[in-house]
Amino acid sequence: MSAPTLPLETPATATRDPALDAIVFRDVHMAFENNMVLDGISFCLQRGETKALFGVAGSGKSTILKLALGLLKPDSGAIYALGQEVSAMREEELFALRRKLGIVFQESALFDSLTVHDNVAYRLMEERNVPADELEHKVREVLRFVELEHTLDMLPAELSGGMRRRVAIARAIIDEPEVLLYDSPTGGLDPVTSNTIIELIVKQRDVFKTSSLLVTHRLQDAFTMATHRFDRHTNQMQALPPGGKTEVPMSFLLLRDGKIIFDGDLHALAHSTDEYIREYIS
């Protein structure tokens, strides 16, 4: 039985000016060696919104993030990031845009020959016009945010999986990007460490209100994000009251067989009558 799909072009993507949104995908197709991974994907991530992207392994979730960043080019369709058509830009033109986008890779992708300090400072060092004391201040500030200031001189190989993930988050946020992309930030981590990472993402969401696209295969992570908020007074994540909503709008996207079968909020997801969706979230 083929997956039920949303209308090819929803009102949100068909006529809306892409400059108004953080990320826009319009009828994107992508295949790897005759295997159709994305088959007409259309959605938008609004400015200031957080969207969680689900799907089984191999459903194209990570591919969507790489396409948004221009690391891959689609076979057809258009992709916009902060109003610029990423899918039509050359690699040299993308470097300036990527400075406004941050990404946390699935396995952290830290540079293993550089210390934590140099990894986090990488983008600022490449810009070459940041004074040394300002650079140092920013590095310490973001490492303090992820509670890893004591690891400045360590190499990635000396860190645990969770610590590497937190350093990767610090590296992604140091330049205050307008959009953050998370590729399975809790993948391969134990429940306690996963919770620490989610708490950090919720903190980043609620403190800086950055538009975020979060790819995950763990429903509980997205549900935690949708039902909790970061309390700046206690410096901890707290559950929202029943029926309460997060300060930052949060939505969910579900992929199946290369198509989007759901795009909506938590309430709509929980009350969906689609058989596959109900089985997926059960």
């Binding site: 040299e92 470097f95 400075r99 986008l101 990404i103 992708a109 540079f111 293993d112």
Partner: protein, 268 residues
């Protein structure tokens, strides 16, 4: 296991698909090689990275290059002495060793040794970065991997190959001198005088242009195979081996064409 099961596990590629893949590889390599040189005229230039690579490639390869060319010079002297003694012409050993080493053996041996050591190193380092998404991370952070990783390696290898070949040639002549003096009882002064005087501009020019070409081949091949790695750690191992084999074969093949081209250019 039945023959049928074995045959069914073999993945067959159509000839057209095979040719298409090879042409695409040549295209990708050509683009990488072109951009590696073009980036020398575009900012930013990663001088610190280039210096670090020059240290690793140059000083790291020095002992093995010197040893290889020294003993090859000694072997050339030993082998040629046997033949020349039949004609009573052992006095020309210095000239023979000199021309052989400076024109051909010095640059080619240095190239092969450096290819074995550094092409593999580059392929494995860049291949590991590919499979751990570090290259994607670099691109995502706004850095061009070709400028940051490839161009410094290409420039460092070209420069270091030039100096390694000069030093290698000196040690090659020394190896010949040791054999000539100790085994053939030839006067060292006579050996060195004949070795030096027989060299012409064309010999030296040829012997110093080749290492520049070989350095370019070594670095671009190593970087190409590294950045084309697919298939995890097994892919890294495969890329490393293929880089060394390709670099060595290309050096040997290109040597013939460069030699012929320079002979025509210099009219020798």
């Amino acid at each position: 296991m039945a023959a049928g099961d074995f045959l069914s596990d073999i993945e067959l590629i159509s000839p057209s698909e095979f040719v298409k893949k090879k042409i695409q590889s040549v295209q990708a390599y050509s683009l990488l090689a072109f951009h590696s040189l073009l980036n020398l005229f575009r900012s930013p230039l990663y001088i610190a990275d280039m210096t670090q690579q020059a240290d690793m490639i140059g000083f790291g390869s020095l002992p093995i290059v010197l040893a290889a060319v020294f003993f090859t010079g000694a072997a050339v002297a030993l082998n040629s002495a046997t033949t020349l003694s039949r004609f009573g012409a052992t006095s020309v050993i210095g000239q023979l060793v000199s021309i052989s080493i400076v024109r051909e053996l010095g640059p080619v041996l240095a190239g092969l040794v450096v290819a074995g050591r550094n092409s593999s190193g580059m392929a494995s380092e860049l291949g590991s970065m590919i499979v751990t998404e570090q290259i994607d991370a670099m691109r995502a952070l706004g850095t061009d991997p070709l400028k940051k990783l490839v161009t410094p390696r290409v420039l460092a290898t070209i420069i270091m190959m030039f100096f390694l070949t000069i030093l290698g040639d000196l040690l090659g002549l020394t190896g010949g001198s040791v054999v000539a003096s100790l085994l053939l009882h030839m006067d060292a002064h006579a050996y060195w005088s004949s070795a030096w005087q027989t060299l012409e501009f064309s010999d030296v020019f040829m012997g110093l242009v080749k290492p520049l070409v070989f350095g370019f081949i070594i670095a671009t091949i190593g970087c190409y195979y590294g950045l084309s790695t697919k298939g995890g750690t097994q892919g890294v191992g495969r890329a490393t081996t293929e880089a060394v084999v390709a670099a060595m074969i290309l050096i040997i093949v290109v040597d013939v064409f460069v030699t012929r081209f320079l002979m025509v250019l210099l009219g020798s």
